[in-house]
Subunit: 375 residues, 2 copies
Amino acid sequence: MISHRYQERLERCSHLMKSAGLDALLLTKPANMFYLTGDGRLCAYAMITQDGKVALGVPTTDVEDVRSLAHFDHIAGFEDEVGMIHSIAHHFQHFGIRQGAVGLEYTFLTQSMMGMLTHPHAKPAGVTVKDCTHLLSELRMVKEAEEIERIRAAAKVAEAGMAAAVEAVKPGVTESQVAAFAEYAMRQAGAEGFWRTYVSSGPRTNIAHGLPTHRKLEPGDLVMIDVHPIVNGYSADMCRTVCMGKPTAEQQAAYDLYLKAQQATIAKVKAGVRMVELEETLHGMLKEAGHGEHIFGPPIHGVGIEFEEAPLPPSHAFFHGEKEPPPLPANVVLSVGNCGLYTGPWGVRVEDTVVVGPEKPVVLTGYPRQLEKQV
Amino acid sequence: MISHRYQERLERCSHLMKSAGLDALLLTKPANMFYLTGDGRLCAYAMITQDGKVALGVPTTDVEDVRSLAHFDHIAGFEDEVGMIHSIAHHFQHFGIRQGAVGLEYTFLTQSMMGMLTHPHAKPAGVTVKDCTHLLSELRMVKEAEEIERIRAAAKVAEAGMAAAVEAVKPGVTESQVAAFAEYAMRQAGAEGFWRTYVSSGPRTNIAHGLPTHRKLEPGDLVMIDVHPIVNGYSADMCRTVCMGKPTAEQQAAYDLYLKAQQATIAKVKAGVRMVELEETLHGMLKEAGHGEHIFGPPIHGVGIEFEEAPLPPSHAFFHGEKEPPPLPANVVLSVGNCGLYTGPWGVRVEDTVVVGPEKPVVLTGYPRQLEKQV
């Protein structure tokens, strides 16, 4: 039953590999391994052949655990880095791959990891390497019904985390303590983990990636909270900004503008829309109001196994080793509202996880969008 | 005052750069940037010249925040990836660097990030690139008194996290919920963040990197808890294994052996000791007892800004782009006990953060080492 899911994915992978002229993939990125085999972990690799065979190499300690979780044809344990290199060589030999091209994840591999995977004791001399980043992105872009259910579950957990965080927002509480409440609530609500929680406050709301600090919240502060729980391997992405007390007229106006732009963008999230159109909608409304200099980062990005993944808007795609995405088919899942509006002394951001529906958007994260926190 | 600290570090950096034939460093790894400038964040870079000048490039949104935190000579904001590339070009020009060698972090940079930093619009054609991983590691290896105080503070927070986690160990509680208690307690006790928390139970204690899952704890389970809080930018690393109820004789024997080997290794953590001697002590006692096949990963590693950093034992160092460390001077900080003892059906691990003292080890993580959890 479960194997059927991976066989179908491997078949699609096989087609893409043929088009790309790839004879095998050698994956080490957990998200990609998880998608194609059901298990993704660090210190492990998956070799995928063009005819859909899977060989896994994992620490010897982990063999039984992986056996119980993953779809594969062959598995080998290794004791250390040298063992991993030999294990890769063994699997190349096992599949009879002596030449051709193997796909590696250029956007994940460091220079030193690249050196290990292409070590002369691992890779046959006749085998060349190519980037397979965008192949995997294309493969993972449209979500299956089951995947959307998992993202929906993560969205519910994100709401629980946000509710706990907003509840914790009080004078004297640190940003890190607000994050503590969010993360605790998310784990209790069913998350097996989460990507980094961002909590910034006061002047720190102007920062693009506001990791929590020991800063204590003060009355009148804006507080920006961005959560990314992981539930059954899938993520959601939600950000809210709240004001502890009454916002200034300028803050309220910026928030209202941002929310209006975000909601106008969300309204366009349906099959056939282009990422660039979504980007232009959100950016356009902010620019028109004179905030062209007050945005940072891709306003829209994909959500799935990773809280931030392909598709990305074309300009960002290039620098992340991705291709410009096609007009979006139904069942791509997006985060809308990532760019924020950073005025200098403070910023606001509202971000939601949305499914590209055949005819209209399906918003998965429903926590109230309201600046002033009722106290 | 604070600038003095960074000036001293930059002077030492300068000496190492001269020996290594590096005219500049172009850093993007937050831990390295934090060490040399006082601020390390993603989507940013630090260019360091051989005479100790620092130019920072950060998102425009973050300029004021970085200005208040970092030591630097020049700072520039950028709007996006293209802006970052131009900003790097600008700083090369500003420093008059048209040829020579620039150091890049090969163990941190992905292939695609490497492509950005060495883009023809960023890097002058006459400038070549070299790995500077081990230069930064050498620089950061011996800790200043202030750094040790921060690691000590992180160790206290790790103890608070461990106490909360062990307290939470009860039948029916999930691994993720145990992690929730640890992380919540660490943030409340003063952590601004933490590296991934590992909680594994029952058969999953045999896994090298046991990220928490929805598995519910059962009476008689072993539970392995590994925490890594971050306090004022510095980490500690502590692991404990507890049994929920009475362990079997075999489990108790394995635990006692492991603890004995770990403590014997810790006893040798003093100035002049070689990493390989520490590794051989820990591995040797396990091998002698017939557990040579039951270990994974470096038994000892450095602790500092990162919970796992250089120095590494020689065999692991090579694959992580590091050099074989010299005999350890005083005030290196180590984690001892990382390799674990994985028997197949279950595993045990005890790990502590220890300062290399001039004459004897200073153990920073003091949470009780006891297998059977009193209920």
